[in-house]
Structures are given as structure tokens and as C-alpha cells.
Symmetry: C2
Subunit: 362 residues, 2 copies
Amino acid sequence: MMLKAPLPPGSTIGVLGGGQLGRMLAVAASRLGLKTHVYSEEANPPASDVAATTTVGAYDDDTALAGFADAVDVVTCEFENIPAKTLEIAGRSAPVFPPPKSFAVAQNRLVEKDFLSALGISVAPYAAVVDLNGLRQALSDLGAPAILKTRRFGYDGKGQVLIHTESEAESAWETIGGVPSVLEGVVRFEREVSVIAVRGQDGEAQFYDVIENVHRSGILATSRAPARISDTTVFEARRIAGAIADALQYVGVLCVEMFEREGEEPSLIVNEIAPRIHNSGHWTIDACPVSQFENHVRTICGWPLGTTDRHSDAVMTNLIGDDVNQWPVLAAEPGATIHLYGKAEARPGRKMGHVTRLFPKT
Amino acid sequence: MMLKAPLPPGSTIGVLGGGQLGRMLAVAASRLGLKTHVYSEEANPPASDVAATTTVGAYDDDTALAGFADAVDVVTCEFENIPAKTLEIAGRSAPVFPPPKSFAVAQNRLVEKDFLSALGISVAPYAAVVDLNGLRQALSDLGAPAILKTRRFGYDGKGQVLIHTESEAESAWETIGGVPSVLEGVVRFEREVSVIAVRGQDGEAQFYDVIENVHRSGILATSRAPARISDTTVFEARRIAGAIADALQYVGVLCVEMFEREGEEPSLIVNEIAPRIHNSGHWTIDACPVSQFENHVRTICGWPLGTTDRHSDAVMTNLIGDDVNQWPVLAAEPGATIHLYGKAEARPGRKMGHVTRLFPKT
């Protein structure tokens, strides 16, 4: 269901989830004269500091969800692992963007890979796994090393284990808890890139510059824009992201993570789809007139797409766990823009903030 | 009283006033992991949409003010006409920045002009006026045309009347309500400029690029950065702003409005001091890594000054009253960044939003 007319200033955006992405979304909404109502399972989440209203409730609390959806003009989501039922309940009272199908695809690694393959988009070699015997067969087919991944609830490197030799099959199967999984062949790649696409209610899509990412321990460490890749690869990366967005009849900001393989270019395979604003696009706050967050707000509210141009090159560095204690040093660094998420406790692996460093546009 | 140590992320800034300046201040604070608590006379002011907490109370409500000040780590103000008593009450429980003396100077046009003159800074010829006879004498001394201005509570062209000839003295005196006033000689000028200075707790000051302003009906219409003035004039404008900030032992962002007179340069006279973030600095949100709002937050919290460099040139246009109805057109203009303040009613003369257009840095 698309909006018949743009939501005027003064309207309220309902955001399922209250983390840092919701927080930056609420800030972007405020710039456009829009209010934010956050729905969060935990009390005092980061986004509530800048939201007009916060509802604390479980994602399976029908009554609380219905009240939330009644109170807002449009519903969106700041994380992909939202239960389908939650979106369905919200959708009875308010339009929901991105379309729920995007979450269904992104929440299940097998569905996601089948969806991409059906579009003719390259992915790593993979096989469905439902039991230990199936895992052994898949390892024999794909060869080791390979990565065993749960189909659901994976993020930041969670829910996956690297299998070096076939003899590790049993321990790997135990490690991931014996749940329905996917075995993926290990792909040798030169670099990881991502594309942040934004697609409007009329189907128009735009793309920010392709981003080059470095992960550490499965968690995004740095993003550089633009990526140091050829124009041909840029074109192909955007084409792939556009094809995915079109196939999902997507509305909002979508991130597609890809690997650039060694060898003849362009040689991209898609690793993952994130149906939301994304950590690898945080640099757009500082380096673009219209950030990924504002473009997400614009499109889910039926506004025209904002420009995806950048005025500066950028390198974004995440502050993970104790990294955040460097804030006095970073605050004193000329030209570093510091973003802190208002989280009280700096647990290991927790994203506490990020720093963007700008450079003249190349 | 200066802070002994920077306020850490998670601290709360108390903002007296809940308008658009408070709103943009709250957004800047959130970026640094700081919370905002707004104190406002009206319910649901623009800033409350993005503030963690809002207290609605009168500026002479001692109990509400004391409770507010107890709940925050530092107090600042988003408008200059805050009663001295209000600042005094808040100051019993929390440090207040900018220093209350800045408000005492800026709230009274006579005190302001005497203060500037004592610093050797040029101002328009002026004379204190307390009665009609005094006004006639002042008109005879300064000559007509001249502008009669109330000493207090003037902003956006309010509380002033242009006197074309001496015969208009009586009607002018009636128009401003017969209150203590200042008569100012009319100065011929080539352009209006302003300087946004930021001064830290250690006395270090930095300056954004000098801004060129155009007013219509006494209200700021557009600001352009950088101003089209000589390097000599830029240097002199910054020197003046720095001298004022030092004399006030200022902490925070300070705006100094000036006229550039015809004739040999530099020939600047100071029109007005605003002890706060200022409309003519809104372009810094989009054109600088660190905006005036963030630098205000940084300095009142004892953080290091952020850079005042710009990555782009900018033209900011205010959306006054019905101008805001153009939002669908502006939202569709490539490269225009639109800011709306979440005000429900577009009264004539009311600042409803602004638009920034960026250009490659000259």
C-alpha cells in the first residue's frame, strides 16, 4: 500500500526499535518538521532521548502495538529481525515501509540466497542444511573451508562458525545449536563494499557512492566513501542494488553488502541485504546534504527523494565497546566529527558511537 | 564559575526556552551523547520533540526553576530576553553559560552601546531617551532620520520606529509606548554582516566565516557564507567579536551583528550582540563539520572547541510565515536542504523553517 499524498510536516513516524539507528532517524525526521514515536522492548533506549514519544512494550504485545500504530502516520523499522506478526499488527492501522516482504527475505539466509539467485545475482556457493548428515554432505559438495550460518537472527558475525576441515562438522553443528542453517563456501575477495540505495513510492531509485568496508571480528570497523573501485564496478554494484530494490517493490533505504572478488572486474557477489538504514552509511550524515536517514524518512513519508550526492569524501570509524572512552581525544581532533549514541554501558562488541573524518571530494 | 572537568556523555543540558534554537541545540547535543532538558513557558514547544525531558513553567516560577536546575548538569539559554532572576535561580543549582552578564548587556540597548563604546568599538551615534523632551533634544543633536528603539525586549525589528523628521517625535514616542529608549542615528551601510564566535572555558576563541545578511521588514531573510568582503574586513570583524567575547568572559556561541559602512575599509560598526546561537549561523549545520549548535554544546560542557572550518559555501534562506507552504517544492529541489521547526501555526512574521543551499567552497 503506497501513500496517496506526502505526509505533511507535523506528522508522526512510528519506529519499531530504539537503538542508535532509530536515534539518528528521529534526528533526521525532526529536521523535516516530523515527530518520532519509538516502540522499544527496553526502557530508555538511545532513540527515546530525541523522540517525541516512546512506547515500551514487547514485540508480541498486540495491545501495545495496536495503540502505537494507531498513534502514528507511518511505521518503519530500525532493525531487520522484527517478527512478521509485529509488522502485520502495525500494518492494520498504519502503512508500513519498507514492505514486510523485505524483512521476510532478509531474516532468512536461505530465502535471501534463493531470492538473489532467482534474480540472476551472484552469491557465494551455498547449500541448505537441516541436520548433521546434511551438513556433512554439503561440506563434501562445497569443500572446506566453509561457513555454517543459522538461517535466522544473525548480525555482527553472530550465528555463524567457520569450518576448516570436514572433521569439524559435528562441533560446528553443536556450536550453532543444531538449527536450520546454510553452509556457504568461503569466497576469496579483494574488498567488501556496500551500496546504500533509496527508492521512493513511485519506484524512483537513487544510490549513494559505493562504500568500502572493513570488518573486524565480524563487526563493521570502518567505511570509506567512495570505495577505491573502478567505474565499471560502481555501475554494476548500483545495478545489482537497484534490481533488488525493484524486485522487493522497496520503499525506503536499503543496504546491499557485496564482495569484490579477485580476477576480472566487475566480479561482485552479494553477501547480505539489510532492509534499513545501515552502519556503512553513517558517513552520509556528515558528507552529504541529505543523509541516508533523511532519505529514509523522505521516502517512507512519500516526499521526493533527496540528493544522494556527497560534498566531501569520508572515512567512518566505529567506536566499539571501550573505544568510546577515547571521546576526549576524538573531541579534540580537528575535523573529526564525533557521534555518541547515549548508551550507558560499554559492553565488548557494542556499538557505542562513530567518528567521521571528511576530506576534500575526489 | 567554570567547569572543573568536561561533562561526560550521558550528562544533561538544561535549556531555558523551547523554540527552534533549542530544538537544533538538542539535536546537536544528542550527537555528542548528551541529553537535553527543556524549560519552556508554553506546552509542546518545538524543542520538546527532540528533548529527553520538558518542564513547562513560567520564568518566575521559583519552584519549577529550582527543580529544573537540580535535574541538569549545566544550564544555557536559547533566547536573550531571559529575566536575570531566572538565571540567578538556575545558577544556584547548576553552572550557567553563557555568563549572565552577557544577557544583562544584550537585554538593554543603552547598556550594550555603552559597553561597546567603552571597549573602543564603533557603534551608531546614539543618545539615551527617557521622555519626549529628551527625544526632541536627541533628535536635534543627532539629526533626522533616526531610529527610536526601546531599551528592552527588541528582536526581529520589534520595539523600534523610524523617525523621518523632528515633527514625528511625539507620534514615535507614543508608538514605542513612552518607555526608556535609545535614539540611534541612521547609518548608511553597504552590507550587514555577522560573526559567529565560539569561546571555551579556557578563553580560547574561534570564529566561523563572516556572514553576509539581508533583512526584510526587520527579520533576517538570507545569510550567505562567506560574506563578499575583503580579508582586511574579515580580520577586523573577527577582532571585534573576539574583543567582545573576551570582555564578557564569554563561554558558548556569541553572535555579533555589524554594518559595513561605505567608504574606506575596514569600516565596521556593531549593531547588536546576541549571547546565543543565532539564525545567521544556521548554515553551519550543513556547511561545516561542527555546527554553531555543536560548538555551543561543546563549550558550555567544557569540551574542546570543534573546528569552525566550512567544507562548502552556503546560502541560508528563512521560511517566514506562509513561506513554509512551499515545502513540497523545496523538498524536490536537488541540493536544497530543508529544515522545518515543527510549529503548527504559520503566523505572519513567524520563523517556520529555513533552507540551506550548498556550493563548492571558494
